[in-house]
Amino acid sequence: MSYKCSRCKRDVTLDEYGGVRCPYCGHRVLLKERSRDIKEVNVE
């Protein structure tokens, strides 16, 4: 899972032990980046 730290803007990869925390600056707010997949939307 790839995230982005909201304070230092660096890419963060989370594993199951480290908890939710940026390993570079310790900030606890991480943003999930938009997937690079093409998203298909049905216009209703």
Partner: protein, 262 residues
């Protein structure tokens, strides 16, 4: 087959007003409904987002794209046909409907200045969209006719002079009248009084006292004569919309006739 008389009051590319007679109210309504629900137009149906870093969600942009009218030349395509369009705009700039690039030159955005989304620095919108030909019955975005309506053609009868001490109240009427009392009428809005002439009520500011000053009038519907107000969203011209709508009625009538034959 009956012959119908059609007289135009107004006529332009995207809007028209005309009188049809003699038809029944049911048939008039049939034409109206066919214009709204049965004439197919292209509309974006599926959008593939490659990149969207704008402030709006994919679904919101998809909805806006779906509402952009696309030109649909009659007779060139069949219901269900698809055309692919693409859009690629990088901020700071606004993405307009005119930025859509179509794979088929017959199917283009009818209006080019509709803002899709305002993009700021470092924002980008890149997508591919499939437009499909379908009818208004399926989804309102496929409606070619906008605000299509009809009303009776009306006749004004002068029944006497207005009372000398009557309050001067306006006599409001909206629609189109057929002049039948030219003797009592005055020229308004460039319409000389002449019996049998079609006069839109705008010509006398919708007030009969301007056209028939000092007269007492009565308004009656003319049987079998209907004034249609038709506008299109730009997918095709009004002429094409009306002809196509009549065509769908004819197709259904033929189908019914064939299916009940023994």
């Amino acid at each position: 087959m009956e012959d119908y008389e059609v007289q135009f009051v107004d006529r332009s590319e995207r809007s028209a007003r005309f009188v049809v007679r003699p038809i029944t109210p049911a048939f008039a309504n049939g034409i109206r409904r066919a214009m709204i629900a049965d004439v197919p137009t292209f509309s974006i149906d599926t959008v593939r987002f490659i990149e969207n870093s704008s402030v709006m969600f994919d679904e919101q942009i998809g909805l806006r794209l779906g509402l952009v009218p696309l030109t649909t030349p009659p007779g060139e395509f069949e219901r269900g046909d698809e055309v692919t369009l693409s859009l690629d705009v990088e901020g700071p700039e606004t993405a307009y409907s005119g930025d859509l690039v179509s794979s088929d030159e017959l199917v283009q955005p009818a209006d080019e200045n509709i803002p899709i989304i305002d993009l700021k620095e470092e924002q980008r919108l890149e997508l591919e969209a499939d437009a499909v030909l379908d009818v208004g019955k399926e989804h309102a975005k496929h409606q070619g006719g906008v605000a299509v309506s009809y009303r009776h053609l009306q006749a004004v009868e002068v029944v006497g002079d207005a009372g000398e001490f009557d309050d001067e109240e306006p006599e409001i009427l909206r629609g189109v009248i057929e002049e039948q009392a030219a003797d009592a009428a005055v020229e308004t809005g460039g319409y000389e009084p002449e019996n049998g002439q079609l006069v839109p009520t705008e010509a006398f500011e919708h007030d009969l006292t301007n056209r028939y000053p000092g007269k007492d009038v009565e308004v009656t519907d003319i049987d079998g004569a209907f004034v249609f107000d038709v506008e299109t969203d730009g997918s095709f011209s009004v002429d094409e919309l009306v002809v196509e709508a009549i065509g769908t009625i004819e197709d259904r009538a033929t189908e019914l006739k064939e299916s009940i034959q023994l």
